[in-house]
């Protein structure tokens, strides 16, 4: 049964406020915006809270990640977040910004109206601040066995060739960076992530089902033929709305469902 409320230990309290530091000229910055950031300190034993940081926009890069790093540099170095590539390819800085899941490095501050509210990816165990525990998410990814299965003997110096058309079937699939924005945006995943694989794992399963070089499509479909693993998708489409790479997991899941029916009608 879906739990709509947060557990008692997860209810978010109001935290501290940090004013912007003086700029290089020693003056109070005039053009500031408020970043409201979810904080959780596992050492304190206290409930999570939201701290408010005033950030000088005249001396800040354009993206939300720039703002967060400026906060870390100048206001509170203890803010914890994952980040790496700062160009939308590593998927590390996935978080809930302004009510939607996306990458902090590709989300422009200017695109957000009002205060910039930042939370960890939804409905996940929080390790610290914006860092959530994605172990279960990765286990689900591993469970679809995301590697090529092909027993055919090929000379070591030969490639397994595809036609242009066969290769095109992988467009919209191989680009997934496993940031978890889609799965953790899905209400069905929130209520059933113990059994439902979620959009990211399903998209990656289909990435191999659709691959002309993979010989295990039937076995992969057999594995997904389950009331929960696949069919908890109710086409809510939060996944497609959230995907920072512009992919369409909802459509991909529909393709898997369609393949399920087609093979039964054979």
């Amino acid at each position: 049964m879906a739990e709509f409320k947060l557990p008692v230990n997860s209810i978010v309290k109001i935290g501290k406020t940090f004013s912007a530091t003086n700029n290089n000229a020693g003056e109070k910055p005039k053009n500031t915006r408020k970043f409201i950031v979810y904080r959780y300190d596992p050492a304190s034993g206290e409930n999570p809270r939201t701290d408010t940081f005033e950030v000088d926009m005249d001396n800040c890069g354009p993206m939300v990640l720039d703002g967060l790093l400026k906060i870390k540099d100048e206001l509170d170095s203890s803010v914890a977040l994952r980040r790496s590539c700062r160009e939308g390819i590593c998927g590390s800085c996935a978080m809930n910004i302004d009510g939607g899941n996306t990458l902090a490095c590709t989300k422009a501050i200017a695109d957000i109206e009002g205060d910039i509210k930042i939370y960890p990816l939804p409905h996940q165990p929080v390790i610290k601040d914006l860092v959530s525990d994605l172990t279960h998410f990765y286990e689900q990814y591993a469970s679809v066995e995301p590697w090529m299965k092909n027993d055919a003997e090929v000379e070591p110096d030969k490639e397994r060739l595809q036609t242009v058309e066969e290769r095109e079937k992988l467009d919209g699939l191989y680009e997934c960076i496993l940031c978890a924005c889609c799965s953790t945006s899905c209400p069905s995943y929130w209520w059933n992530s113990d059994k439902y694989l979620g959009p990211a794992a399903l998209l990656n399963s289909y990435r191999w089902i659709a691959d002309s070089r993979d010989q295990a499509s039937e076995a992969r479909l057999d594995d997904l033929e389950d009331p929960f693993k696949l069919y908890r998708c109710h086409t809510i489409m939060n996944c497609t709305e959230a995907c920072p790479k512009g992919l369409n997991p909802a459509k991909v899941i529909a393709k898997i469902k369609s393949k399920m029916i087609k093979r039964k009608m054979k």
């Binding site: 739990e3 709509f4 947060l6 557990p7 230990n9 997860s10 978010v12 979810y38 959780y40 596992p42 409930n47 999570p48 809930n96 302004d98 009510g99 939607g100 509210k117 939370y119 960890p120 990816l121 939804p122 409905h123 996940q124 165990p125 929080v126 390790i127 959530s132 525990d133 945006s185 209400p187 929130w190 209520w191 059933n192 992530s193 113990d194 109710h234 086409t235 809510i236 489409m237 939060n238 497609t240 709305e241 369409n248 909802a250 459509k251 529909a254 393709k255 469902k257 369609s258």
Partner: protein, 125 residues
């Protein structure tokens, strides 16, 4: 899914701005529940009809009251919305209209159709 983790659960419904597609999905579920309740209402109507004039009169009295009419109005909207959105789901099942723009447009169309059909039904009857 029960939460037996000592660590906090990050906020979900509390902070997520649900897109139109998600709101319509909730409405589909809610109207489905209303239809189930409506079935009980239909059974009551049939049972009242089968058990004589006085029971029929009391049932008819309730459904003719403002509250009864409001209930029936809600049921009519639920029926039309669930029906129209069901057709939208059938299109999705054959892989049509699953891009963001298409899903938004069909969502607005379904809401509009449900409202128009509901109003028409109440104007005609």
């Amino acid at each position: 899914m029960s939460w037996d983790d000592k660590r906090p659960m990050s906020p979900h419904l509390q902070v997520y701005k649900l897109p139109l597609t998600a709101k319509l999905s909730i409405l589909h579920r809610a109207t489905g529940a209303v239809l189930f309740m409506g079935l009980l209402l239909m059974v009551w109507v049939l049972a009242a009809g089968a058990s004589g004039a006085t029971t029929w009169q009391s049932m008819h009295g309730f459904l003719s009251s403002w509250f009864g009419k409001l209930t029936l109005f809600g049921f009519t909207f639920s029926l039309y919305y669930h029906f129209c959105n069901g057709i939208r789901h059938l299109f999705w099942d054959i892989g049509k209209g699953l891009d963001l723009e298409g899903a938004h447009k069909s969502g607005i169309a379904v809401i509009a159709a449900a409202i128009i059909l509901t109003v028409l039904t109440w104007l005609i009857t």
